[in-house]
Symmetry: C2
Subunit: 452 residues, 2 copies
């Protein structure tokens, strides 16, 4: 009898695990359970769908269930939620969300890929109509539908993290008035304040009304419908509010099944993706991971981390001995005309991880000054004061930042120092760069702090 | 009395050495001698000047002699050629190329940065008028002047290396008919044939008449003026011929001064840039270097290598103990709408260096398929068969290739393997990349050869 694998969750981690396992061992009988009506979609593509750069939401979907079956031999069941894994019997208790009917499914090995959930906002009024979070494709469809049918004029985005910035970009590009309300002194704390200020300048230039140091505790409604939000003592009327006040690992299934979570609150797994319960793996934004620089267990919400964990679990399901070394939390995001890229530890993360760290910040051209289209690239490097060892890096600038960051990813992974970075034989031609690459210029400047 | 430094040659290596030394030790009295009428210019910018994307040649010049003196405190003398260094007396015998007058200059330490020379073509007729090589800014001015005043219609570019491709791009963009004649079976042997074929396809699409396997031994002239070139048995009339049949290190001064060259024919230097003669350094495209992967001495003609060697010599002049570890011969070039980037060893270079090497070739999207502007990126990785250790890599595609190659530069420098590359936490967002980066896809495919 073929071995039966149940994969719970059909996005980055789950789809990658299922596909990789099936590819390496076609005898596996794999079923993917997904609570939502969609599998295998790109949540990162939502802002572009929102403002119509991507016209149809179907373009964001890599595989329909039919394609998944015909092209990869993997079955999937949508609108099915797994309630509990019963390792003693090797069954999973499910509920069909259409009919409400419960049923049990047998498995030999299972993979939990239940992703994340928007964190309970703790904001009074967060249950009002027109107050939404964005964590799934349906949320995007829902928002676009409202935008198209309700003649929205003014939107409040509460929280300036990844999702808040993504949504601000999407909604403002649609021509809506956007109030971006951030409780901290800077947006996007994945980069240093000096870079956050450049992002903030761009937001303002694009006509976003940005209010910092602005915690929101209450949304005002009438008859269950959102009416406004209090900003700096004034009630601002808005037609829609999007909440980006954080996410948490969706570990409910694990907890219901007696599978322990780690210090980060996400499901504890070893390097092979194995939970504390034999035969049950976890991967993606419900599972814990390790930071490659600090070595500490962390919770990552990135799709890239999810896919990489999923791949490792898929290989282990197929009998290989794969391990996931950890994440640098590398990310890149388009914020209007800016590309914001980062990897490794920020300065405050480095301090919290026990490093004696420092930063260097430079601004340099991204290609020869005389070459048309040349623009500024802002670079921060985070490094260990004594040794010059790289701990992290961030860039804000034109499109090239989106892949320039990968140079730092390789450097961080290999444990290179500022001195090593300064010596790299990086590429140069006038349309693509400068004789001394901005990363090297940053390393040269940073080295003054190391050497003195 | 201040220490007197003579730097012979005022471009990438010489200017960098002089500037770095003066910055670290302002007491040094530095004089730069330059045989041509220009210092401190970007030879890589020539094609863009040729077709007017860069309007004035002055834009390609970083420093005039006046600016060099006022802003950096470095003196320079143009149109002065150094004929011989006399280490016993610590003088350099010079000739003023304007007056023909010889004179001796005293120095305490000297740096030879005489760059490269176009190789003697060995082509009958290479002395005809309208037969040119391109190695200096003057050559570019000369060509543009001819283009503007002579109503050129048809140009033959002989040799499809860096310079040949650069010139083909520049002249074709001007609307001229270009015959590109390459003696080998593929253009640009710094990349594998599979990528050269993509470049060749682009050349043909852009209306270049490309003829491969076409060695040129004779140019036909009349009254000392070029008339035509024989191509596949037919005489083709052309108004101008540009020769790119190789370059050689300009080691004439070193040889005249008893300073030995290495196996590559370039001036032998140690890691600090010191020649075999005390007090005399060499850097740039006249000096030998070491390949970072093979460890072997090589001759590099890249401006980046020159600048890096110059920087190291500048630091050593100022009393630091800097060393230049070597080069990966990283380069990037724009060939019409293609970006061609490479680093490390090609397969044949790897074989010649004694590696048991293999390659993998893949084609992947450079950003999310649904994101506008997404296009194909072609990637080759060269690796050691048994260990999977990376030896080199090449890319052809859109602009992003120009800095994506730097990920491989860091990986190669750190000695990473395909397995390491596959695991890198590279950046992803739909406008900038794909969930699995093309480099990772290549690594995944390549690993099948390593594992089997």
């Amino acid at each position: 009898m073929p071995e039966r694998i149940v994969v719970i969750g059909g996005n980055a981690a789950g789809m990658t695990a299922a596909s990789r396992a099936k590819r390496l061992d076609p005898t596996l009988e794999i079923t993917v359970l997904e609570a939502s009506p969609f599998i295998s979609y790109s949540i990162c593509g939502l802002p572009y769908y929102l403002y119509g750069l991507v016209e149809r939401h179907e373009e964001l979907i890599s595989f329909t269930p039919e394609e998944l079956l015909s092209r990869r031999g993997i079955r999937s069941r949508l609108r099915v939620r797994a309630e509990e894994l019963r390792p003693a019997k090797r069954t999973v208790l499910c509920v069909d969300l259409e009919s409400g009917r419960e049923f049990e499914l047998e498995y030999d090995r299972a993979v939990i890929c239940t992703g994340y959930l928007p964190r309970a906002a703790g904001i009074e009024g967060d249950q009002l109509d027109n107050v939404l979070t964005v964590s799934r494709l349906e949320d995007g469809l829902h928002i676009r539908h409202r935008v198209e049918t309700q003649k929205l004029r003014r939107v409040a985005v509460i929280g300036g993290g990844y999702i808040g910035l993504m949504m601000t970009h999407g909604l403002r590009t649609l021509g809506l008035e956007v109030l971006l309300l951030e409780r901290r002194s800077h947006v996007f704390r994945q980069v240093e304040p000096v870079l956050a200020e450049i992002i903030q300048e761009e937001l303002r230039c694009q006509g976003v009304r940005l209010v910092l140091d602005c915690p929101i505790r209450r949304l005002q409604g009438e008859h269950g419908v959102l009416k406004g939000v209090e900003v700096e003592g004034q009630m601002e009327e808005v037609d829609l509010a999007l909440l980006d006040v954080g996410v948490r690992p969706n570990a409910d299934l694990a907890l219901a099944s007696g599978i322990p979570c780690g210090v980060s609150g996400a499901i504890q797994v070893d390097e092979r993706g194995q939970t504390a319960v034999a035969g049950i793996y976890a991967a993606g934004n419900c599972a814990e991971t390790r930071h490659l620089v600090s070595g500490k267990p962390i919770y990552s919400t990135l799709g890239t981390t999810a896919a990489r964990q999923g791949r490792v679990v898929g290989e282990n399901l197929a009998g290989r001995r794969s391990r996931f070394p950890g994440t640098l939390e590398t990310s890149v995001e388009k914020v209007f005309d800016l590309c914001v890229a980062r990897t490794g530890l920020t300065l405050s993360q480095a301090h919290r991880s026990g490093f004696q760290a420092a930063t260097v910040f430079i601004t340099h051209r991204d290609r020869a000054g005389y070459y048309p289209g040349s623009r500024e690239l802002h670079v921060v490097l985070v490094f260990e004061k004594e040794s010059g060892r790289l701990l992290g890096g961030q860039m804000v600038g034109g499109d090239s930042a989106g892949k320039r960051i990968d140079t730092l990813v390789a450097a961080l992974t290999a444990g290179l120092s500022l001195q090593d970075l300064a010596r790299l034989d990086l590429a140069y031609a006038p349309p693509f760069g400068t004789l001394w690459d901005p990363l090297q210029v940053a390393a040269h400047v940073g080295l003054r702090q190391v050497e003195s």
